[in-house]
């Protein structure tokens, strides 16, 4: 009875919003993963590590500029570039030699990279918990559907669609984007018409990692920035790109929305078993559509 009393229309509305805002973070991270999966065919287990580096870089940049609003905005803008730089080094020195390898080998390689990056983060930033603050404007909450909704989550609800539109414009309206899409479908043909596929791959990889870094920076004011963040997100990210359709950016969006909203509603309906809901839904979707909801490029 208590349960039914809590499930009211405003509660449903409020949880839908909360789920959507979580989905936006997940989308930013998984869209990058999906891009790397689609164009490079690399199941990058280290994607979560780049998300973690994004959050730690955001912490450092924010503190470098005094921890105020300026620090926050600069952290949000610059830390994805820090991650992009790290990923460019990794791509040019390591990944570019490995694209032709079997997926299992790539999986093992990126797993090893995840462990190495985890230790590097510990060496650079130490093991302490870190935290950054959003500017005053984003602190506190507004009342939506008779429930408190963090202002910062409203910001996430704006950023997520912006990233989606940006990615769409990039892949459909720019030459590099079109080449990357073509390379995802037929890399030999793209190479045959004289395009340097190696650099297309490098660009796609760096862009994917840039998004991981952006996700890390975006999430940093809401969580503790700590070693282990990579492990927390990577499993969810893989599940999302799998149910969405491997390598499909819109699949990443659909998967993130389903994941975020199910999780949020799960907490409302059966809070004791909320953890199970997103995973249960993954099982159902994969039984129903083994290749994911949207077209897989694999």
């Amino acid at each position: 009875m208590e349960l039914l009393q809590t499930i009211t229309l405003p509660a449903l509305g409020s949880h839908l919003l909360v789920g959507l805002s979580r989905a936006m973070i997940l989308f930013v991270v998984t869209s990058g993963m999906s891009l790397v999966l689609g164009v490079l065919r690399v199941p990058n287990v280290a994607h979560g590590s780049l998300y973690m580096i994004g959050a730690f870089a955001a912490f450092s940049i924010s503190h470098l500029f005094g921890g105020g609003p300026l620090g926050f905005w600069l952290a949000l803008i610059l830390s994805p570039f820090v991650v992009a730089a790290v990923s460019l080094i990794a791509e040019r020195s390591l990944f570019c030699h490995l694209y032709e390898r079997e997926h299992l080998m790539l999986l093992l390689f990126t797993f090893a990279l995840m462990l190495i990056l985890g230790d590097l983060v510990k060496m650079v930033w130490g093991a302490d918990y870190r935290s950054i603050m959003a500017p005053e404007f984003f602190r506190g909450s507004v009342t939506l559907f008779e429930a408190p909704f963090p202002r910062y989550n409203l910001f996430l609800l704006v950023v997520g669609p912006l990233v989606a539109v940006g990615l769409w414009l990039f892949s459909n309206k720019t030459r590099v984007g079109k080449i990357a899409r073509a390379a995802a479908v037929d890399r030999e043909m793209v190479g045959a018409i004289g395009i340097n596929v190696s650099w297309v791959f490098a660009f796609a990889f760096v862009l994917g990692c840039f998004l991981a870094g952006l996700g890390g920076a975006l999430v940093s004011p809401t969580v503790s920035i700590t070693i282990g963040m990579d492990h927390d997100i990577i499993m969810d990210a893989f599940l999302i790109v799998t149910i969405g359709g491997l390598g499909n950016m819109w699949g990443a969006m659909v998967g993130s929305l389903i994941f975020g909203i199910t999780q949020s509603f799960g907490v409302l309906f059966l809070p004791q078993f909320a953890i199970v809901f997103p995973y249960l839904e993954v099982v159902i979707i994969l039984i129903w559509r083994p290749t994911g909801l949207l077209k897989s490029v694999w």
């Binding site: 909360v18 302490d128 918990y129 935290s131 408190p148 004791q272």
Partner: protein, 408 residues
Amino acid sequence: MKQGFSVAGIALLGCLLAMTLVFLPGHAEARNIKVGIIDCYSGPAAVYGNDALNGFKMAVDEINKEGVLGGKIEWTKRDTKFKVDLALNMAKELVMREDVDVIVGTINSGAAMAVSEAIAKKEKVPFIAWISKSEKITGEKGHRYVFSTGENTAMAGKAGGVALSKKPYVKYWIAGDDYEYGHAIGNAAWRNLKAGKPDVEKIGESWWKPGEPDLTPYITAILAAKPDAVIFCTGGKSMTNVLKAVKATGMAEKVPIWIHTATDHAVLKPLGSEAPEGVMGTMDYHFYYPDSKTNKAFVEKFEAAYGQAPGFPAFHGYITAYYIAEAFKKAGSLDTEKFIDALEGMKIQSPVGELEMRACDHQVVLPMYLGVTKKAEGKDFAISTEIVTLTGDEVMPTCDEIKAARGE
């Protein structure tokens, strides 16, 4: 002939002297005490492992100036990476290869339980759990060879339960990390709250996976259920996530909240001004409380050595080293059984005053400090204020309860 006699005589005399030296009581014991440390030095929990180690090192340096039984305390550490199987292997290696006299550690309750059962009990090597918090370690699974110098979930839960039972709240919601520590704290708090105030009612529970980044849906669902108060059962990296979500939703202004260790400065400092005010929390150590001479001296020395204030793990590491040294001194020998006998009921002076290692369950009797988070004046982070000290007797299960839990 005379020459031969004198050579034989000298040889005999030499042998006799050597035998005497070997069998002299002092000589055999005049060696270093070897302590093997197993703890987490990588991953998110490393922050606790390092802090405990720093406290231990500081105490050992102090102790070694005088030495113990003619020797010194020497130590070696192993990184368990928060893994139970690694902790077991390392504890085994420390006993078999390093021949340690005592094992100490670890932040991971699962690892502490495993080492206690499979190594300490089986190999008869004393194991002192210094920061793992499962009440089972010295409770139902306790035995002669395991000790704890840290507070546990029974003590924390009882502190919360006792404190909350004095408040007027009736309808409670319990939420937290879905693993051993979260549930243990929740159960202990609820058990004691119900005992102190039988009319309380639990209107719901929710559990998330440890480290779950976005806890907003949990908070909004709890607020929708309109409880009188909320018990959050969390720690480590989840703690910051909870406090951030509490702050972002303004929950602390709407509903009273109790979280064990929410007043820990290791949690509040990184949060800075983002820490929610008004959250009730319990801790067994604050570097700024008690405001005593001994605590201040300890803190100053620690800050000088490591450049930061000691957290609760450092305090436990520190007292653990003193318990080891004092117990060996009292035993007068490096014999394990005598060490255990000496440790039982032993009292030492600590930064928070005199502490007793309870003989019945090998659990150190620690007071608990109940406080409320508030921005500190002149500091850029929140501290615990309005601190009420709950004595060890108030927060610990009785020896009879321990016996009952062990089925004795």
